[in-house]
């Protein structure tokens, strides 16, 4: 009888430890993933002035669009919190997408090696941001699910694990950027 009770206590103990460790590990990975996104975003901030400088000479008729990119960049840099920064990033991604699309209209831009290099750099940064977010969201979903399903939800409540926030992607970002092909003024 004593033996059975000890066995139950033992199994219970192992379960508590492994669940707790699992949740903690996930939380740390989420923090790390968030830092990864941050890192990519900072790289994008650094690249944007470069891009604008390089293409400014060629794209004289698109000063408005370029100005918008600069504005969106500074807005994104000052944003706080997951939701707000997600919105600012969305705006920045859209304005960048517009510049990329407009660049198609300038054959001499595509001939410049400098611009091509920069474009590849920005493309990969955009992709890296997207993939880092995707990974972050996958982790958060896993983490939040674990906190809500039985039986791990009992422990999550007991140890005070809180659900993390998903990095929402606005509907607008999923749609392709709209580009007006006629020259403005």
């Amino acid at each position: 009888m004593i033996f059975i009770i000890w066995a139950i206590v033992f199994v219970l103990g192992i379960w508590i430890i492994s669940t707790y460790n699992g949740l903690t590990a996930l939380r740390l990975r989420i923090q790390n993933a968030w830092r990864q996104i941050d890192l990519q975003l900072r790289r994008r901030y650094d690249l944007i002035p470069n891009l604008v400088e390089t293409v400014k000479g060629y794209m004289q008729y698109e000063q408005d669009t370029l100005q918008k990119v600069i504005e969106a960049r500074s807005q994104a840099m000052t944003a706080k919190g997951v939701k707000e920064s997600a919105e600012a990033q969305t705006a920045l991604t859209q304005s960048l997408g517009k510049v990329f699309a407009l660049m198609e209209n300038y054959p001499e831009l595509k001939a410049s090696k400098n611009v091509l290099d920069l474009q590849e750099e920005l493309t990969t940064t955009e992709n890296q941001i997207a993939f880092a977010r995707q990974y972050y969201n996958d982790l958060v979903t896993q983490y939040n699910t674990k906190q809500q399903v039985f039986p791990s939800n009992m422990l999550a409540g007991l140890f005070g694990f809180k659900p993390s926030e998903l990095f929402e992607i606005a509907e607008a970002e999923k749609a392709l950027p709209r580009v007006n092909l006629s020259l403005t003024r």
Binding site: E120, N127, F131, L139
Partner: protein
């Protein structure tokens, strides 16, 4: 995989029964042949395993990336993207100068993992397709397929050793005397089975390898959220149809597509299914397109995982 281990234990037990009388009463029941053969095979494979990835890379003439070349820089960027998408450490990247489009992943864990592609692949594929291929290789690393295939080759080697011992022991008079005490209805099927066991083990190993390919395709689609890229990459490789001469039978299972392409592999028959280390390319493409077409993407992945779980 479980089937494989059970099969190994069964063959080991059969050899032990026939030659060492382990199940006879009054003797210590220790499956000596099983343990010994496993030990030998593990030793041989593990030596290959620890020095392994460097030997493979240098034997294939793999070279480090040169970031001055735009194509190499793009490859580096794509790998970084996939490392982020899978949440793993950045693997080492190598290029083989060969026109045949192919790729493989090696390394025993995430930290010493390496991805290797041919220059032919870089020349042939656009960014999206390269991404699909790299995601596939990343999946192999994340799913610990290198470790799994090492285990498989340990078992495969163990069975080969057992069958060899058994065959030799059978001709010696000492064993012949031992056999006389046993029921022929039991030992004749056992002897036949042991004789056939290397072939059966080979078939099981190939089955495991094929399932891991399907799984890597599915995981790659999960990383890129874009099964079309990988599907198009496979189509391109199918149309290029160039064998990769530096690969050997021993390294064939590592690759993105079977480098030793024979016409057999591309046919979708029962026999081809059993003998190939990779699934038919057409079926891989079809499954990926089906995934892309599904409104609920998760359904496609779970279907793939069910296929894998069945074996």
């Amino acid at each position: 995989m479980l089937l494989f281990i059970l099969f190994f234990l069964f063959i080991g037990g059969a050899v032990d029964y026939l030659h060492f009388d382990i199940f006879a009463p009054g003797k210590p029941a220790f499956p000596i042949a099983t343990v010994l053969s496993l030990g030998f095979a593990a030793f041989a494979t593990l030596t290959a395993y620890y020095g392994g990835s460097d030997i493979i890379l240098s034997s294939l003439g793999a070279e480090k990336l040169n970031l001055q070349i735009p194509e190499h820089r793009e490859l580096h960027n794509v790998v970084t993207e996939m490392a982020l998408a899978s949440g793993s450490v950045m693997p080492r990247i190598f290029v083989i100068f060969d026109p045949a489009p192919n790729a493989f992943a090696t390394g025993t864990n995430e930290k010493n993992a390496a991805i290797c592609v041919t220059s032919g692949l870089l020349a042939l594929m656009d960014r999206e397709e390269t991404q699909g291929v790299i995601a596939h290789e990343m999946s192999h690393i994340r799913n610990e397929d290198v470790l799994l295939m090492t285990l498989v080759s340990i078992l495969l080697g163990g069975i080969a050793i057992l069958a060899d011992w058994s065959r030799r022991g059978f001709y010696s008079s000492r064993s012949g005397r031992r056999l006389s005490g046993k029921n022929p209805l039991v030992f004749i099927p056992l002897v036949v089975l042991i004789a056939l066991s290397p072939l059966i083990a080979r078939l099981l190993a190939m089955a495991v390898s094929r399932q891991r390919e399907y799984l890597a395709d599915a995981t790659a689609a999960q990383y890129t959220r874009n099964p079309r890229g990988l599907a198009r990459a496979l189509e391109r490789i199918r149309d290029a149809a160039m064998p990769f001469h530096k690969a050997t039978r021993g390294t064939a299972h590592l690759f993105f597509i079977n480098p030793l392409r024979r016409s057999l592999d591309d046919r979708d028959g029962k026999l081809a299914d059993l003998l190939a280390s990779h699934p038919p390319i057409e079926r891989r493409i079809a499954l990926l397109y089906r995934m892309a077409g599904l409104p609920q993407f998760a359904a496609g992945i779970s279907t793939m995982q069910r296929i894998v779980a069945e074996t």
